[in-house]
């Protein structure tokens, strides 16, 4: 091995701890990149393969009733590849050992053979036989939650009659990767399931023989989706079509899209912090190494090594650190990405797991990682190259200190001399101090962003469960009923208060921007559910126009006072021009609101309801549930306590683990930065600190110089980190907000304080770790070296 390469290996061994600290920070960036984009890619591929193999439809629409001949007309629309008309409805279930009501969406299969589109994937058993009225296949999550196996039976209320159904198969569907019941906020596999039955069995339940109430279709490759949707809407309008939509509005797909978008945000917001910090660290450590190697560089040049060889020598050293960081990052990124993909697979109910991060993230993160360290090294390498041999071989000039503002300040505050040493060191090497401050503030920022998720979730939960939804139960009715239904509901056992809501699908149009949303009509006195203005005060639904959630208003590009087009997607299917009355705060969901009387006045109808919120006496919940189970008019029963528990369960599991990972990464930055800064400090000042020991300074007093300088810089970095963290929180909120969820930007004092405490703790740990070396300094030999 060449002498220079031997030197390289020995130098790396000598600074192994510092190299490792840098490599770890670098690895964090690589890991997050790998983790997020690898998972994103894997999810994307899994979804694509699943959609492809099981013919997930491109366009969806529900309608009231259309004869099957209409399907031929739709099939003739330019760009339509396959069409399927189905019968879809919600049924109440009567499950053994379950007092609370459960419901299921019933989806018809063709009279014989398999589904044309959205083909169910059979996990166990088989699909129902043709002409078998009582055979059904059920969704796997529901089967698992209720321990149902092929051959088991359960009862459903179909057409007002209890019917015993036989489970023949357990299936998964690309249409319901994420399964959520009507009116529910989170998947609830125990109380909501999917049932596939033959058309011959399903159609009679809703009087739909020879007809359908749900349309799905797939498009040919070059189809114009918007044009097809328009054509479908035109054809289905007379049949009560509620507006066709593409995959971009399909609930299950929207949730996955949201998740993919969030992963994308993760892959872009966090890694740059780590990469930049590691570049600075390399700069700091290598700069120091070149300074130490000064005489050797002079010697190498004097004996005839070319400048290029020497520059390459230091670049190789950097590359060593870079390779280590990239490998660690790849390893952990791969492992965590797999874990996370597995978690997603379970959460979303993919039938299989395809962990295929692909070469993209590997290559990109590898290149970025190596570029990071090499850019970081350039300044130091340039310094080594520029040294003339004669200059290099003589010792560097001692650092110049000058009197300045700090001295007057020191005298004024009568600071101790050891404190003045710290002050002067910071002022004398501002670049080094800046690197430390920058790095540590990056660490604070990462922590703030990580904990910010908890703040946002807390706020969403508070808004969702304490402020806007204060009902105990929501009943979803199987159809529109007149107001007497609310009075009937009020008479159900244990009900203290009942409030009716009328919710209808609408399309809001402003110029080229359109959104399909639900319009909720509420009575002015409604107290169980509330909408809040941006300051959090309850507002009464407007009688003059629609109230829109902030995010929806933003997407439509409207403000209060503006006017927009409202298409009713259910009878009487009119188009109105309505003003926007107000904008309110809503993190979850995108419903528009209107005063009830105003709506029915505009509709020229007597008021109706299709949803009822209840406040109940918890002690009589069982009675209420029993009664609801035998009331066919009620299609859905949502117990808000369950929703809340489900919400907490789902979020805490993924968020806690995620935040733990990021908190660890955040700490690693501080440890990496402070450890390196302290090591350099110690190396350069060993002589000075040994002098202090000779003068009779105790270990603690000598440590003070080392520890306090790093801690002062850490404390300086905290406010900067808070600021940066808030900025990143803004980016993350933007990146994490989807059509379904708007992440509020709120960072609590708790988050700021926690981030600061963790960073101070990590910094102290790192510097105290280095401090132990002070004890090992041999005072006598340290003094023998000339400065």
């Amino acid at each position: 091995m060449r002498a220079l390469d031997l030197k390289l290996l020995r130098d790396l061994r000598h600074i192994w701890a510092q190299s490792l600290a840098i490599a770890l920070v670098l690895a964090c960036g690589i890991m997050v990149m790998m983790l997020a984009s690898g998972t994103q890619r894997s999810l994307n591929e899994t979804r694509a393969v699943y959609y492809e193999r099981h013919r997930f439809a491109d366009v969806f629409s529900s309608l009231t009733r259309a004869p099957k001949q209409v399907l031929d007309e739709i099939a003739r629309i330019d760009g339509v590849k396959r069409v399927e008309g189905r019968v879809v409805f919600t049924a109440l279930l009567d499950l053994e050992n379950m007092t609370e009501p459960a419901s299921a969406r019933v989806i018809s299969l063709p009279a014989s053979g398999g589904a044309i589109l959205n083909v169910p994937l059979i996990r166990h058993g088989r699909l129902p036989e043709a002409l078998q009225q009582d055979e059904v296949a059920i969704s796997e999550p529901f089967a698992e939650a209720n321990e149902l196996r092929p051959g088991d039976t359960f009862r459903a209320i179909l057409n007002g009659r209890k019917r015993e159904l036989v489970v023949t198969g357990i299936v998964l569907s690309p249409e319901y990767i994420y399964t959520i019941g009507a009116g529910a906020l989170m998947p609830d596999d125990r109380h909501f399931g999917l049932i596939w039955m033959r058309e011959t069995a399903a159609a009679p339940v809703k009087d739909l023989e020879g007809a359908f109430n749900d349309l799905t279709l797939s498009l040919s490759r070059d189809a114009n989706e918007a044009a097809v949707i328009d054509a479908v809407d035109r054809i289905l309008a007379p049949y009560g079509g509620t507006g066709a939509y593409g995959r971009d509005r399909q609930v299950s797909n929207v949730f996955i899209e949201g998740e993919l978008k969030q992963l994308g945000a993760l892959a872009t917001v966090q890694p740059p912090i780590f990469l930049v910090v590691s570049a600075f660290l390399v700069n700091m450590v290598l700069g120091r190494l070149v300074a130490l190697d000064r005489a050797q560089i002079g010697l190498f040049k004097a004996v005839g090594y070319s400048t290029r060889t020497i520059a390459l020598h230091y670049l190789k050293m950097t590359a060593g650190i870079g390779i280590l960081g990239v490998l660690i990052g790849w390893g952990f990124g791969w492992w965590l990405g797999r874990e996370m993909t597995e978690m997603y697979t379970e959460f979303f109910r993919f039938p299989w797991l395809l962990y295929r991060p692909g070469p993209g993230p590997l290559v990109i993160s590898g290149i970025l990682g190596m570029a990071t360290v090499i850019i970081g090294a350039l300044r130091a390498v340039r310094a080594s190259v520029r040294l003339a041999p004669s200059v290099a071989m003589s010792p560097p000039a001692p650092p110049r200190f000058q009197r300045g503002w700090a001295d007057s300040l020191g005298e004024m505050l009568s600071l101790r001399q050891t404190t003045m040493m710290i002050v002067r060191s910071i002022i004398r090497w501002p670049g080094r101090a800046a690197v430390t401050i920058f790095g540590v503030s990056g660490s604070v920022a990462v922590l703030v962003v990580s904990f910010f998720t908890f703040d946002a979730i807390d706020l969403i939960m508070q808004e969702l469960f304490d402020e806007t939804n204060r009902q105990d139960v929501t009943l979803t009715l199987s159809g529109n009923l007149n107001d007497s239904a609310v009075i009937d509901a009020g008479n159900l056992p244990g009900v203290l208060r009942a409030e009716g809501i009328y919710a209808i699908p609408i399309r809001l149009v402003n110029g080229t921007r359109t959104r399909l949303v639900t319009l909720q009509a509420r009575a002015p006195g409604a107290a169980l559910t509330q909408i809040l203005d941006p300051e959090g005060h309850p507002i009464t639904p407007s009688t003059a126009g629609v109230d829109l959630p902030e995010e929806l208003a933003r997407r439509l590009g409207v403000a209060p006072g503006d006017s927009l087009r409202l298409d009713l997607l259910s009878p009487p299917r009119e188009t109105w021009q309505v003003p926007v009355a107000s904008v309110f705060r809503q993190s979850l969901g995108q419903d528009a609101y209107l005063d009830r009387e105003t709506l029915f006045h505009w509709l020229r109808q007597t008021p109706q309801v299709n949803m009822i919120h209840l406040a109940i006496d918890q002690n009589r919940l069982a009675d209420l549930q029993a009664k609801v189970q035998e009331t066919p008019a009620i299609a859905g029963f949502t117990l808000w306590e369950d929703v809340r528990a489900e919400f907490v369960d789902t979020l805490t599991e993924s968020l806690v683990s995620m935040s733990l990972i990021f908190a660890t990464l955040g700490m690693l930055i501080t440890v990496g930065v402070i450890y390196n800064a302290a090591r350099i400090q110690l190396a350069e000042r060993a002589h000075e600190l040994a002098s202090l020991r000779v003068l009779g300074f105790r270990r603690s007093e000598v440590s003070y110089v080392l520890v306090v300088e790093q801690m002062v810089l850490t404390v300086f970095a905290i406010p900067l980190g808070w600021l940066a963290g808030y900025g990143f929180a803004l980016l993350m909120a933007e990146g994490f907000s989807t059509d379904v969820v708007t992440i509020p930007v709120v960072v609590t004092q708790r988050t700021f304080a926690l981030a600061a405490l963790i960073v101070i703790g990590s910094a102290l740990g790192a510097v105290l770790f280095v401090r132990r070396r002070l004890d090992r300094i041999d005072i006598v030999s340290a003094l023998k070296q000339k400065e």
Binding site: P399, Q417, M420, M421, L692, L695, G696
Partner: protein
């Protein structure tokens, strides 16, 4: 009889470096008395620095004992040795060992801040003739000036013993003499016991006693009947 302020009793020091044992000191019996100036003279490697470090509590003997007044330093903990240095010993080294980021005054204040009954930094600097250079950083001072700051720093706590390791070793003779003058002046006015290591035989003439060292042993001790002022020494 005069009281020894520092006394060694058969002190040996062996350094274990790799395969070889280096015997730096081979049985030293020595007393330093209140108020005297002692010069330790010997070639490099004769063990004089090792002895000085052991006397000052920077190092421990392998065998034997060191007494400060009546206290045996040999068994003291690291912390107790630190306290001993802090309260009783002043050091001056060949390479000054000043803190580069502190001015002359501040370098002295470094010690006065932790000493029990110090003189003011100004007074200490005045004693070594540097009143007008107090606000200068070490890098702005000449070698002789830096060494005088080091002396001021060493004496500012009014130590019982001043230990100087080649204080003029890095200086030319003219500058060296000003440094020696400062040391003698401190000894005269404060009565500080001063031990000075040198391999420069000319300097022996300023001492009360000269201790010759060779090969880790004291080869002889010489009383100096005719002490001269530093200004009369030349090399």
């Amino acid at each position: 009889m005069r009281m020894p302020i520092l006394r060694t009793d058969d002190v040996t020091k062996v350094y274990h470096t790799g395969a070889v044992d280096v015997h730096a000191l081979r049985g030293i019996d020595l007393s330093l008395f209140e108020g005297e100036v002692v010069v330790l003279l010997g070639a490099s490697g004769s063990g004089k620095s090792t002895l000085l470090n052991i006397l000052g509590g920077l190092d421990r003997p392998s065998e034997g004992h060191v007494f400060f007044r009546k206290e045996d330093l040999t068994g003291l903990s690291d912390g107790a040795l630190t306290e001993f240095r802090r309260d009783h010993v002043g050091f001056v080294f060949q390479f000054y060992n000043l803190v580069p980021s502190l001015t002359a005054r501040e370098n002295v204040a470094l010690v006065t801040e932790i000493a029990e009954n110090p003189m003011s930094p100004e007074e200490a600097l005045e004693r070594v003739g540097l009143s007008d250079r107090m606000s200068h950083f070490p890098a702005e001072l000449s070698g002789g000036e830096q060494q005088r700051v080091a002396i001021a720093r060493a004496i500012a706590k009014r130590p019982d013993i001043l230990l100087c390791d080649e204080p003029t070793g890095a200086l030319d003779s003219k500058t060296g003499i000003t440094v020696l003058e400062a040391l003698i002046e401190v000894n005269r006015s404060l009565g500080t016991t001063t031990a000075l290591i040198t391999h420069n035989a000319a300097i022996r003439r300023i001492a009360h006693r000269v201790i010759y060292m060779a090969d880790g042993r004291i080869s002889r001790i010489e009383e100096n009947a005719n002490r001269v002022a530093p200004s009369e020494v030349s090399w």
